[in-house]
Symmetry: C2
Subunit: 333 residues, 2 copies
Amino acid sequence: MEKQTITIYDVAREAGVSMATVSRVVNGNPNVKPATRKKVLEVIDRLDYRPNAVARGLASKKTTTVGVIIPDVTNIYFSSLARGIDDVATMYKYNIILANSDENGQKEIQVLNTLLAKQVDGIIFMGNQVTDSLRHEFQRSKTPIVLAGSVDPKEEVGSVNIDYVAAIEEAVSTLIKHGNKKIAFVTGNLDDPINGMYRLKGYKQALNKANIDFDANLIFETEYSHKAGEAIWQKVKAAGATAAVVGDDELAIGLVNGATDDGAKLPNDFEVITSNDSKLTEIARPKLSSVTQPLYDIGAVAMRLLTKMMNKEEIDNETVLLPYGIVERGTTK
Amino acid sequence: MEKQTITIYDVAREAGVSMATVSRVVNGNPNVKPATRKKVLEVIDRLDYRPNAVARGLASKKTTTVGVIIPDVTNIYFSSLARGIDDVATMYKYNIILANSDENGQKEIQVLNTLLAKQVDGIIFMGNQVTDSLRHEFQRSKTPIVLAGSVDPKEEVGSVNIDYVAAIEEAVSTLIKHGNKKIAFVTGNLDDPINGMYRLKGYKQALNKANIDFDANLIFETEYSHKAGEAIWQKVKAAGATAAVVGDDELAIGLVNGATDDGAKLPNDFEVITSNDSKLTEIARPKLSSVTQPLYDIGAVAMRLLTKMMNKEEIDNETVLLPYGIVERGTTK
DNA sequence: CTGTTAGCGCGTTCAT
DNA sequence: ATGAACGCGCTAACAG
């Protein structure tokens, strides 16, 4: 199994120079006479030499690869972020090791450890919550980490997000303005601070400003899936809600479909505003009104931030908030 | 920047044994006296030692990571395959380097090269077509490669797919049985053999068996997006088609939405059968009838096949076809 | 069962 | 501008 074993040494010998010189031209070190550079380049080309990144990694202590922990690539919200991450990673000559965690705490720290063992230069984490054990692992490794579309209430690690509190407050206020008094809050795991702390807080604030009492029966915690959305419609309806803010697009479509299949006419009989503005919102019928957030950019900016950290550059702000908005499409009056 | 630099040497010294012994216990080599194993393990735990995978890779010439070239993670079809790939990769202790290619030939070979430079143990390729330059790169590296949901007409590289010819023939036949005579064939790039060769062949065969003349005006080549589907509806309609087989779910939903928004009632006014049976088919309204194919499994089996190749096991069949089917949901009578 | 000794392929001083 | 030599952390024979 002699895998392509042309080393820097072969090139050096063939070109009549030393390994050091070859290394220099490969790494673009200017201290090489143009003539010899040309000669070396030529040999490299002729021998079809390809630098071994592993050896390089060992010697330089840099792998030019970053780890990305993602709950599930199959979820359009996360895959959109991932795309942004990969694009700017590529832009900065990094590669991505992608690992699905299913938001399972144990898998997460497991994966984190193998990522660190592989000497990734940095890590981007997407997931429900930064548990203490996870934070512990983060800290004992000096590897830079940034959260994308995920939040650490203690703000001990860099992150890029939107202002979830304000976004949901605005969404709920919009619904209130449309005349709704009983607005369901349908979302995923409330252990995720994005749901249980921020979004819920925004929800309550909007209610408060409108002098509407908070009703715990209007809070629905479920999973991010179309099926879960369909299933929860009856409960939402039974609770007397006339509208809902939903934490995930797929879930929202499920709810909308559940309502529609049940004979409800949206948006007149029921209104919904979802949270991620993924492409699903335009695919659904009626199209989903939504909080807008720049998914691709969240990933892209997170990766950009990470490059700065890996590069030990000065960083003005470890936690960046990107702008959000509200678009009203077919599920609001 | 003293990154956690506890080496195998530190452990050896601290435990009063040689590096070799430490290496043995770390790698589960049975030739170690239980007592010393225990001692070493204890030191490893106390020192919080983590084997450096890069050094290991250099020494063993195995990185336990495989490269995955994907057109776009954001496309549910591919991300479904990716999920299957990652899951079995994890199962076999591999990690995945994920790289988006946008089906851009140049990016593909570019990415392929950096993957090889990083010494991945294997590669899974998803993409339109295996161009000659790509095949050239494949061959000059002795690295195992398998295609997932992608096809190489020359069958020179392993792959896992479904029988696209038969699947589409069956889909079209179903449409014909429903009384349709003018059936549009709406798909992506015809340069992709899956579209231009296999699916198209199945389409023609079905027509042929029903004695329906092939009409080139019913062939629509576009891109895999919802928008493209909406846009092409008017053309499909103008061509007089009463039904369509579509090569991508997002594209199909676009077509369906385009028709519906235009006042058509599906499935009575128009029928459509899509090709991937991704979760989008259940999300859309009406739900999409579809060729079914085990997306997750295609990825999983591809990865499994790759592990065998990396392991130099005997392989009975380099190109495996998984079963497909047809489900009729809301877009067929 | 355990220790010694070579590399793996490349980056990086330190001389020259 | 270029070369010699050492080391990155670990695996893999080979002895013992």
